[in-house]
Subunit: 238 residues, 2 copies
């Protein structure tokens, strides 16, 4: 029953908030007029109200009403009766910390598995994997756990960046960081470039977004590319 | 009594491991021939043995013998009797996790405050601040705490990178990430560019490294630059 769209980024270069996804969101949310927004990741420290307003403005373009989860007295009940959910990007540690603080992680997982259409962007996509251990974010708060929804069997690295061959910087490349992850973990990782997204429909997982390939990292293997349109189901049995 | 050298990076572009620091290390370790190396940050997943060997080779250039902490049966006692200590870079979460696992955090703090000369590079510098909440690393393991040595009263962001005005990437810049940190924390942050280091001598804290300035972030203020040679003592009272 699962019906998710997990995007690398909310916004692509030269575009406005969510605009490259409007067609895909029309399809994702085709059976609902109302969507609940989880603003907990607070990009740039923006307030829950301001972030929800920004997202609601974008959702007007697809004719959907969007309401911030923080405005409900009973957020757990609100998620249970939601017809659609969207978790925005920002800081993954802040997002996960808030979801644990409000005891919402199991409920959010259950309603997504029951079929509530779910959109994630960046940090909101990250939490669809088993953990946030492949986030790019700074650990500005200490959450009670890195474990997340495990809707898909791989970790996402959003905003994936290829190494710059002309760089003089000595900090680790993204690929090096993900290889270090596999020294301590076995979960496959998908490096999702800006403009790519993953669709989860029932039990099928596919890569979408223009002609962009994604980079797959499996423990003990060299990293490799898969093309847009490809199925990611083969990662289920890793 | 404190005597620390906290470098942004072990290696600068075009150089070899630690070479730009040899003169400064000769001064830091002038009263000892032997240094204990903490290899726990394991860059790229390298083994403790291989990492210690790499560091020992570099230390031969300054005529010092270097021994990995992991080779001691009693690491706590080894730190207590050490004449000099060096913590190498790698993954800050892995480093902090190992220090907690071996119950070494309070001992390491105490011997540094007692005057044992200490070198940190990258993650090894990061832990000299109050927390690792401004690391650039991926959270590939979940440590029991983000709290670290608090030898200096500010957090370090090593490998500090200025925003690229030509970037088409939509992930957060380093400055944005540190501003988000200050939505949740009050500790000042120093963005330390590659080639810069901090010297802590007794109670004095100064910036070193060629003509490089460092970027200072204080909660509620615009970020600003301080020049090489400047004192950082003014951040003590923030």
């Amino acid at each position: 029953m699962t019906n998710c769209l997990l995007a690398s980024t909310s916004t692509i270069f030269g575009g406005s908030y969510l605009d490259y996804l409007f067609d895909a969101l029309g399809e994702l949310y085709q059976n609902t007029e109302e969507v609940i927004f989880i603003p907990f990741a607070r990009p740039g420290g923006i307030s829950h109200d301001a972030y929800s307003e920004m997202a609601a403005t974008a959702f007007q373009h697809i004719g959907k009403k969007l309401t911030g989860l923080h405005t409900f007295d009973e957020p757990k009940a609100a998620l249970k009766s939601a017809k659609g959910i969207f978790t925005g990007g920002g800081n993954s540690f802040v997002l996960v910390n808030s979801l644990y603080h409000h005891h919402l992680m199991p409920t959010l997982r259950q309603v997504i598995l029951n079929g509530t259409p779910y959109l994630g962007t960046s940090a909101g996509s990250n939490i669809a994997g088993p953990t946030i251990k492949t986030t790019n974010d700074m650990p500005i708060v200490y959450p009670p756990s890195y474990d997340t929804l495990a809707i898909i069997p791989m970790n996402i690295n959003p905003h994936y960046l290829d190494p710059d061959p002309n760089s003089t910087h000595k900090g680790e490349t993204r690929e090096t960081r993900i290889k270090e992850f596999h020294e301590f973990n076995t979960t496959p990782v998908i490096g999702l470039r800006e403009g790519s997204w993953i669709r989860v429909q029932n039990k099928e997982i596919t890569l979408h977004g223009g002609q962009l390939s994604a980079r797959i990292f499996e423990k003990g293997k060299d990293a490799y590319e898969i093309p847009a349109g490809a199925s990611l189901d083969f990662l289920k049995n890793q």
